[in-house]
Symmetry: C2
Subunit: 350 residues, 2 copies
């Protein structure tokens, strides 16, 4: 089964192809049949061991010269230093504007390789091949690329649309359980925003497949397209992230992974929305996926204060994304501090 | 006297204002009247001493918070390391997407500051304030920004149009004579491409003024607009650069400045064009501006070989931009090696 999502951006339009086993089709997007075609795979040390060889083989069989650049796995590779290192390696490999970059990995690789492709010789083609669930349902789409500054995530970057995204759900089989679970929180969030068939399948606890990923992708792209300037509606995608981020800050980014914190944030948002039935169902889904549903090691007052700080609110209330039902998510609800503390406190009770 | 050139690029349209003394108008382009307005001047150590204060004062008087970031003067600052340093300084100064960068300097500052502005938070506004003749007639326009990799000039960058270019010819009064002369070779080249009134004024040896700079700017923008994809006509802007670059390579970038080499390259192109009268006139203009008209310290055979290498030609001929008369410059002329050697040799005779 193959799902194709066409992203209409005029001259920068591209297709997202979602299908198990489609990794072997990568050459089709790299002009590998052209004379002198040159592809550079940029990946990380974890993904390299698993998938550089099949991707490289597919490209070579199609006639491309293939080089492979490997960054250390982990967020710390999303840095100006590593980008500069990759630029020099691209130069060493003789890359030019006709070379295609294959960004093979999760969110870090997609952002890092995308940024290098956006800026090397002022722009080369990039094919995104997301290998984690978060990247397959979310971060590989939308054209945002970049690296972090110390203490400032994603502060340096460029908008650079891929020429194609090749999403192969079969790759998720090798994903560590914790990575898969972290991505699952984004799936639940996106399904709540989407409502309809996507939400129904997720609510029944069905497994991740092509159609479910495609549903998440279409939802994200629809929301982004409706709000290109990032002024309002796009904020719905922050559902669960407001408190989620405050939980990460308060626990020093050590206790909870991003996806775990987002799951907890979803539960708080549902409590603030007065959606007790939905909250219980989402808690069940998160728990079944191996995600935490109780907050430990953080004080509710501190989490609430961090939420206000995050939103640069010094006053009494914080703007929230709330849920009126599946498919009915709205932005800009002011929530008072005592209400917020109470909703977070509920996360701490058994 | 003030000349305004409007660059029509749809939503990214901007004005180039050319007028002596207009440096003091900088605040008009920085939204300095807005509450919380923030401007960051990026400059180099030479220009900082001369012009950071008047520019900063003008911005502050209009109500902006002003920070000044200073890179070492010289091409070596156009590096990923210096860009990374500036990104962190922008972060330290609390810059965000509403902050305006004022790129105050010559070509290096324009490219470096433009690249930082293009990529910090995925793009902030930049006002280009060119302070050298080369930047005022050429490099500040067109939206190309970037830094060098070791051994590969301009290999990392982004297209990022300025929100305005403020060109103040009065600043040229403090420019070292050699810098002014180097820019003059570009003026002669551009006037040859333009023909008409611009060429007539240059041919009469008239001094640089607003109208002459505006004429060069309009010529460059007209050529670029006619060939947005950089496939053909834009190559006319390379007049004199083919051999000019080979001279720089052959003499190890030590003996001749870029503008000096371009002047010598113009003389070779005019010889190859069979324009002996024009060649004599251009030689006079270059000499009057303090530019060399004879090649020393380089072997004509080596220069010819370097020209072919540059153009990745292994065969017998090199494609050249030739001059049929002022305003009549065409591309793609194949020139044979013996003819090229003869034309370069003529540069070496007294």
């Amino acid at each position: 089964m193959m799902e194709t999502v066409h992203v209409n951006l005029g001259p920068r339009s591209y297709d997202i192809e979602i299908g198990s086993g489609n990794l072997k089709d990568v050459a089709r997007f790299c002009d590998a049949e052209q004379d002198d075609s040159h592809a550079v795979i940029i990946t990380d040390s974890n993904v390299d061991e698993l998938y550089s060889e099949p991707v490289g083989d597919a490209l070579q069989e199609a006639g491309a010269q293939v080089d492979i650049l490997v960054a250390d796995a982990g967020e710390q590779s999303k840095s100006p230093d590593v980008a500069a290192d990759l630029w020099e390696q691209l130069l060493d490999q003789g890359a030019d504007r006709k070379t295609v970059v294959v960004a093979l990995g999760g969110g870090v690789v997609g952002d890092l390789a995308g940024f290098c492709a956006a800026t090397y010789q002022r722009g080369m083609d990039v094919v995104q091949v997301p290998t984690t669930l978060v990247a397959q349902v979310d971060s590989a789409y939308g054209g945002k690329t970049g690296v972090d500054l110390p203490e400032a995530k994603n502060y340096v970057g460029a908008y650079h649309q891929p020429v194609a995204v090749l999403t192969d759900p079969a790759l998720l089989a090798t994903l560590p359980a914790a990575e898969l679970a972290a991505g699952y929180a984004e799936v639940v969030k996106t399904a709540l925003i989407a409502g309809g068939a996507l939400w129904e399948r997720v609510a029944r606890g069905e497994g991740i497949d092509e159609a479910m990923i495609a549903g998440c992708v279409r939802t994200k792209l629809r929301v982004v397209a409706a709000d290109e300037r990032d002024t309002g509606a796009r904020q719905t995608l922050n559902l669960g992230h407001t408190v989620g981020h405050a939980i990460e800050t308060t626990t020093g980014y050590a206790r909870y992974r991003h996806g775990e914190a987002v799951g907890l944030g979803l539960l708080v948002a549902l409590r603030l929305s007065g959606q007790d039935g939905l909250r219980a169902l989402v808690a069940e889904l998160l728990a079944a996926a191996g995600l935490p549903t109780r907050l430990e090691g953080a004080d509710p007052e501190q989490v609430a204060a961090a939420t206000a700080r995050d939103k640069k609110r010094t006053g009494e209330s914080v703007p929230f994304v709330l849920v009126h039902g599946p498919g009915r998510v709205t932005t800009g609800h002011d929530v008072g501090a005592p209400e917020l503390v109470a909703a977070v406190r509920e996360l701490c009770t058994p």
